[in-house]
Amino acid sequence: MTCAAQIAETASCERTLFTPDGQARAAAHELLAAQLEEQLSTVLGDFEAAPSRAGLLELGTIAEVLVLGRDLPTGRRLASSVGAAAARWSQSGILESLCFTEAQLTYHIALLLLFAGGQPRDVLQALCDRGLIGRSEWPLLTQLSVSAMFFQCGLETILPKAEHADLTVRLDKRCLRAKSNEYDLSLLLTVAQLIDLRRIEQLRTLVPPGTPGMLPRLLLTQALRAGNWNWVAVLAFLCHRFFGLPEHLEHATRLALSRVDASPESLGLPPDDISRDTDYFERPVRGLRIRSGVGLALFIESIQQGEHTCTTRPF
């Protein structure tokens, strides 16, 4: 059944992802996953037809959320599409070429290479060995994340020296700031990627200690109160999987999401007074919508798998 047919069929029933009492609706979730597959396929197709910096930034915006849930059912399906495409682009040299053209794109390339899995990396390795890629200066935590992705792709690269900063301090102290922006979310994604690295024996010692909780939950609460569904979707997933989501906040999130239809479009964009780009990452509109859809699908699956990270931590 095509996605359009599915939408038509579901139109007569309830299309929200959660019931008014906060229970996930399987049919609506399936619909969301199908739409995400379709939309991601369009993004991949656009890049394949005309590889560009803008297209890569769009893919990166989606990939940086997807990478954190690629072991969940929808995550696996979407990651498989991205991985197959990325493998083709790597074989044809497109990714290497973009990586060499602009150091700023290294993060996005590293993400795609990670999805592509075990590919021959002779060209990239040679560029790494000669100091031509992978050694430009990034903020410390991002630098660790990028180097770790290269490492996971089988590339021998220079891993940064261990950072002294405690991740809890790094993030939770930001609660004292007057205003939030995309940088906060970006930092949470980076830290979630680092926490994920603790699973890997060789990288574990490089990841600074600590698991922040206050900032992610504060941002989620703030986004819920502001009706910023674009952020709610991503933050709910991040909190549930990495930073801890107390039951009362999870319940509030489910209830709030019971007003949201099962489509990336219904998540909207962050409000205009929240800057969307940071010094290092630009996030195109279509990518932002899809990434939030991905976050929402992964949140639901994370709930269904009964994952509960640190839910006993005090809020």
Binding site: P139, R170, L176, A178
Partner: protein, 310 residues
Amino acid sequence: MMQFLTTLLDRRKPESLAHKGLEWLWANRGGFQITESKDGDMPWEVKPLVELMFLLTVLKRHGFRYPLMDPLTTFAIETANNFDWHQMAAYDPSAATPLALLAPFYNTTGRPLPFEDTYFRYLTRIRFFEGMDRLPYRQMDFAYSLGVTGIHDYEPYLASWFENTAFGRRQHLARYSIGDLYSLTHAVFYLTDIGLQPSARHLDKETDLRLRRELIQLSAMMVRGDNIDVLGELLLCCLMCGMELGGHDGLIFRQALRFLEGWHFSDGSLPPTRAVFEKAKNGSADFASLYHTTLVSVLLYSFLRKANLS
């Protein structure tokens, strides 16, 4: 006799150019006022004022004396005293660096800080300023500036942060972005304690030699590039490291210096790029595009003067 005069003129030239730069800064001091920021992360634009203070601090710590230093110092103090630094400190952890740069400036003047020192120390103690993911050289920025104010908590990490810079990671010279170049020049400022400790602290011999070699190589590359601002900082770093600029290195240094001198305007300003140079020629270049390179030139010519005299 001719040789003597040439040497004498060469020695007086840097002093004259530094003085001209200060004249331009004084004439355009209105640009250092704190304004609302339109596109930055902070709602206030304090960078020009803080950079002016940094210049004045370095000049004073090195014992340079120019007639315009005192009026500029008074002006900077009056401007800073009319701003609520506490509000900025609480706004974002990135406020740490300007605040930390302000403190040594006030120390050199003997005047009280324009903010409650206890508040600043409180924010440091609760580690509020750590609440962000900084570039390695910005971490060095932060650690060094705090160290000058007597807070030494972060100085032990200077060396490891330096290892995480593009230079520390042995990036190929051809791949240096403008950001990577500023990272290197700022790192040298801190490692040499703005030239007061020319043998860069925390570096092993091999790294120290590589640093000196690459500073010259990057200067040569920047002579062909379109960025006088970075070139000026690289040459300044060569002087801060106390490099012996003879032979091949000296040739490149002098050539780069001549190239840079050719960009000077008679009013003392120094434009950073060809595009700004063209604008400055017809008087349409704004303060924001000229002030930083002019600050760099004042420092560069002051250090040159000192090198010549010694």
